[in-house]
């Protein structure tokens, strides 16, 4: 059992605070992804779990044991680094077996477990090569193999795919997911790529400026973002945010456009409240070219500024309430700039955020 618990964990470098007291519990065998922009403290948090950074304050527990003062080697975790961090002077076989050799395993046992890991990751033909003779994807697989041979309590991944090209990244992402299905272990995975977070995680932890913004399953985080930051960070293209004011059951946008307050949010709003209306590009579509046609909606006429056809769908740049918004058009249809179309806003999937705090009105 390896549950990882962070209690009020703080990291400071001198006067500079990097992580400001975060609380997080990662369940046994859970795949948790820490996601956020650079400098949000996600890597630092991971390195504190690994023992590669001192913990300034708070407690880190692995399997119930406080590990604050344990060196990395006593934490029974393994880590996959962004730059693979293979041992350049050892061949793949020795790279995989190094941890076991240090742990004093017998050569027969090392050979058995190295072969097993190499089998899982398709590394058998590469066992006698040195890292210099491997491609980026192969190196990444060796790094993963090195992590799994030791049978640790938890895997820590530090942006493992960001050095790979887009195609390989997609492949490796799928491999990591498959690997976790085969080798059930607690995983903490750090990335700045929201697609990786969405596809891999059991739970996503969105971080910003050393704080946790939201914790939840990918669908929770996507469908019910708690802050404007989460709303715009998760999902691509990002959610459109339109400033407005509540007037009864209506959101009055900056240019006077009026949109009804979604039913499910009516009980959270007060008259005169300054808000931001959040609506994803997928939920603004020309009539007849949206994801859903039923449910409450509002229709507005908008002028197309720019259309980016992607095949089955087009991304449309237009202006709503004096602000550039992105919209999606589903189905193959050519749209010309300057064309005026009737767009439907799917209000059942719209969000309202308090303009001052940036928090979802539901959170009040």
């Amino acid at each position: 059992m390896a549950e990882i618990t962070l209690e009020k964990v703080v990291k400071r470098y001198g006067a500079l605070g990097v992580v400001h007291g975060i609380d997080l519990t990662i369940a046994h065998e859970e795949f948790v992804v820490l996601v956020g922009p650079s400098g949000c403290g996600k890597s630092t948090t991971l390195r504190m779990i690994a023992g590669l950074e001192d913990i300034t304050g708070g407690l880190v527990k692995i399997g119930g044991q406080v590990v604050n003062d344990l060196p990395p080697r006593k934490r029974n975790i393994s880590m996959v680094f962004q730059n693979y961090a293979l041992y350049p002077h050892m061949n793949v076989r020795d790279n995989l077996g190094f941890g076991l050799k240090i742990a004093g395993q017998s050569p027969a046992e090392i050979a058995r477990r190295v072969t097993e890991a190499a089998d899982i990751l398709g590394l058998v033909p590469l066992l006698d090569r040195t890292p210099a003779e491997l491609s980026g994807g192969q190196r990444q697989r060796v790094a993963m193999g090195r992590a799994i041979v030791r049978n640790p309590d938890a895997f820590l991944f530090d942006e493992p795919l960001s050095n790979l090209d887009a195609k390989l990244r997609g492949q490796m992402r799928a491999e990591i997911k498959k690997l976790h299905q085969k080798v059930r272990t607690t995983v903490v995975y750090v990335t700045h790529d929201q697609v990786e977070a969405m596809t891999l995680a059991d739970r996503i932890v969105v971080m910003k400026d050393g704080n946790i913004e939201q914790v939840g399953t990918p669908m929770e985080v996507f469908n019910h973002p708690l802050t404007t930051f989460v709303a715009t960070f998760i999902g691509s293209p990002p959610m459109n945010l339109l400033p407005g004011t509540i007037a009864g059951q209506i959101v009055r946008l900056a240019d006077g456009t009026e949109v009804p307050v979604p039913d499910r949010l009516q009980r959270f709003v007060r008259d005169g409240m300054a808000v931001q209306l959040g609506i994803r590009p997928d939920d603004i579509s020309p009539v007849g070219h949206g994801l859903s046609q039923d449910g409450p909606g509002a229709e507005v006429s908008l002028t197309v500024d720019l259309a980016e056809p992607l095949g089955m769908e087009s991304l449309i740049y237009t202006r709503l309430a004096g602000q550039e918004v992105q919209a999606k058009l589903y189905g193959p249809r050519i749209v010309a700039p300057g064309e005026v179309l009737a767009f439907r806003l799917a209000l059942d999937r719209a969000h309202l955020f308090d303009a001052a705090s940036g928090k979802s009105v539901r959170a009040h």
Partner: protein
Amino acid sequence: MIRALTTRRTEMAPFLLLLPAVATMLFVVALPLIFSLWTSLTPYKLTKPNTLYDFIGLTNYVRIFGDWDFWEAFLRTIGFLTVALNVEFALGLGIALLINKITWGQRGLRTIMMFPMMFSPILVGFQFKFLFNDHIGVVNNALQSLGLTNRAIPWLVDAKLAMFSITLAEVWMSTSIFAILLLAGLFAMPRDPLEAAKVDGCNAWQVFRHITLPFLMPFAYIAMAIRSLDVARAYDLVAVMTDGGPAGRTELLWTLIARVGYDEAKMGQANAMAYVSTILSILFTWYFYRKLVAARRYMGGAE
């Protein structure tokens, strides 16, 4: 016709361009080498130029291989080389590791570390000769003042102590070469494999032994290749400090060669020894160079 000429001219161009380099090499390297090889096959004496034309085959070589003085100098040179290189490597590594830990004043220390290399070996020899002088030397004075001994230790007179003193001077003068090169290696070392090793279960010593040291070895081999050439031709320090004495007990190959060639004027025989010495140097360099190439093959994967 014109076309044929121009074509020929373009064909000649590479050779013409190479000519100065080839000529220089011939004149500076090949000619002296051939000349000295020839003299090693004659009883050439500087005082009797005509002996240059008496071909005597391998007589000089047979003579030196049967000469115990030569073998003693030969073995002593290899011993000196081995001890000096190993001690310099160990000390240089220690210094580099320590300096690498320093965050403040590192540049200054790096410069100070280079000071011994800035002195002429002859001056270093003189300085150590005075330090180790049994009557007026600082070393004996210090030992006596501290009450560690009341004798005048004959640092440069006792055969074993003399060799020790020379080695010490050599180490003092050249440890910084190792330190500088190994420090460069430490600066170039990627941090990730070190952290990976820590997570993989290594304690500090194991990280050093299995990750840092293998990474530094190419740098050590470069230093060793340079230093093995240097030490194998050691002459100045020894000539100044003991001049091969007492009774030939600190005689190295090159002090012997100089004595035979200039003092005894037997240039043919001296050149035969020089040839053996050169081959020895080549062997050392070749050995370290091979180690270097082998070690560098995997360094591409360090990133």
